[in-house]
Symmetry: C2
């Protein structure tokens, strides 16, 4: 019996450190810096471990993260979500307090808005242009006219420094084979370098070519010309990463501690107290080869997977566990009050429901680490 | 321009009060008490408004809610998730501090565990037996032997008071017509009364027959014999409730304020800063007649719906808005920096990402109300 309320978020520190070391070794071989994306972990302690072997820079997804990590001593921060004028005052405030906070944008329209605001307020900004390399979400076309138009707007403004380009190969999450991920990784690199070269040709001093996603970072074979990689979910991994073929179930470092609260034998179902809020409603593995429902099930104390069980359904505070193959559950093995652990489909979404990690070392509770959720 | 960070959770207080009044009027006509489920709102101020016309009792889904609402002055609280032995010490502590905290269970096994713990510690508990009326999730069969077995265990224990029965007709959420919801509502009532009568026949003093879900509460036509209704999401409503036919889009009282951060014209897509964390990954309307994606779109200031727009996709901090019918967006109408509001599919899940409500009255920001998230 683990003496924590359920649901709680458990972090296996040894597994996490192994995940960090695996990425560090891989990128060390490729000779590239890592600017970890801390949106998955939102923890100063964890992010410190992720940056130990690198330059110390991090990537954030919210200005709350920027404030939190700045207050925790991180100085080099990339805010990797497209900026809007309404957020510039807060960015300027953090920069004036000594944080080297960089921003991104992906249109001539946004470049003009930022240049105008910067000039009017005499506030300087360091900027990366976001590049589209896979039609996944956002970004300027690397071969298009608007890239140069946006670049020129920033070059012509006394208060904006165009540091470089960045992209996120989110299409890697739709891959079904490692070789498909490798193709996306090559494309991510090549198109970023194309955009960087085109900006250099109009006089930009491009010092940063920043790319990344956990799958492409792990599968990249050649990163010549790339100055930094951004990746985040690798620190914990999750069932979606396992489905992509870039991690093993045993690598997953976080799990949700839960308790069996009921059984419906006629429905072949255990009921637990980890539901939609505790696990999130991310069912992303449903589009992979192996549908994990809302998570796979571990014995709570040993952390060993219990075969053939998955979380078939969730309500707000109820999880419904059944067998994957439909065979009858051994209900005697699951008395009411038995604790279980659930491996998450998507670590970023599941962790977001918790203010703290219950950190375990060698199977024993060790300490709590905090998270900075919200905006 | 609304002077709030984006994403923020906006609550239209007038719409909320109208939703409360509609439910109060309906249940007043039926002559039944309401014990609102506060898991949707998790706010002391909002829950006070919901209980104003009723006995003052509330329903909670977590022990954190129980602690929070007890500290906020609520005395009569039903914890409506199956209890486990590990949670009894906290329940006992709250009861010893003066909170009339009731618990539920749905098996002879759980009844024995509670009776044993209660006897060993000389702690008294007030208990409702959870009844299965629609195979949705949990509960004892109303006509089964185990109901009476569990009842007898509690009747034979000096420290457990079997107050009554409760059920939640979650199957109402799978209905496609109002008449189907009415059928579920009748079944919910009839089977709860059957369970109550069978327990009375073995000597139980059943004082409470508690049923509810927002759809069945709104559609119930006869609640004779029922002592209280539990419903929660009606206070805000959401697109799923609209899809069920029991609310109008204009009734939805919460929305997520967001900002346009980019555009991808070749993908016919706006990009905003309200993504999977800000909206949740609940795509429940996909199984209804009208799939709202991850939400419908309002003009931020007027709160009026913008036709033919929906949130087609979400990443952690990015929302992807497109047209419902695939027709080209009018990109000029959406400059970068324009604020929008998103109506949620599922109010409980969306609100859970926020610590506060930004409460608006007559279109103007008025004040903040807090929420108690987590466990």
């Amino acid at each position: 019996m683990i003496n924590l309320i359920t649901p709680s978020l458990i972090l296996d520190e040894n597994k996490m450190r192994a995940n960090i070391a695996r990425m560090d070794t891989h990128l060390g071989t490729l000779g590239v810096n890592l600017r970890p994306h801390v949106k998955t972990n939102k923890s100063a302690e964890i992010s410190s471990l992720m940056t130990e072997k690198h330059s110390g820079g991090i990537t954030v997804s919210t200005l709350r993260e920027a404030r939190f990590f700045a207050a925790s001593g991180f100085r080099d921060i990339l805010y990797a979500v497209g900026i809007t004028p309404g957020k510039l005052p807060e960015v300027a405030a953090l920069r004036s307090q000594g944080t080297d906070l960089k921003i991104i944008l992906d249109s001539a329209e946004a470049a003009s808005l930022v240049a105008t605001w910067a000039t009017n307020t005499k506030s300087s900004f360091d900027i990366l242009l976001e590049i589209n390399t896979d039609d996944h979400r956002a970004g300027l076309e690397p071969g298009g006219d608007e890239l140069l138009e946006a670049g020129k707007i920033l070059l012509n403004c006394d208060y904006t420094d165009l540091l470089g380009v960045m992209t996120h190969a989110g299409a890697s999450y739709d891959c079904h084979t490692v070789s498909a991920i490798r193709d996306i990784a090559r494309q991510e690199r090549d198109l970023s370098l194309l955009a960087a070269d085109r900006l250099r040709a109009i006089g930009a001093d491009i010092r940063c070519v920043s790319i990344g996603s956990t799958p492409t970072a792990m599968m990249a074979e050649n990163l010549d010309g790339i100055t930094e990689i951004r990746a985040g979910v690798y620190v914990f991994s999750d069932l979606f990463q396992v489905g992509l073929g870039i991690a093993k179930t045993e690598d997953i470092a976080i799990s949700v501690l839960t308790t069996v609260i009921g059984k419906k034998k006629d429905q072949n179902r255990l009921i637990t107290d980890a539901g939609a809020l505790a696990l999130s409603k991310d069912n992303g593995t449903a589009r992979q080869t192996f549908d994990c429902g809302y998570g796979l099930v571990l014995d709570a104390e040993s952390g060993v997977q219990i075969p053939n069980l998955f979380v078939k359904g969730v309500n707000q505070e109820h999880g419904l566990i059944s067998s994957i193959d439909g065979s009858p559950l051994d209900f005697d093995a699951f008395p009411i009050g038995r604790q279980l652990r659930i491996l998450p489909n998507h670590a970023c979404m599941t962790a977001a429901a918790y203010d703290t990690y219950a950190v375990f070392n060698d199977g024993e509770f060790s300490h709590l680490w905090g998270r900075c959720n919200g905006w």
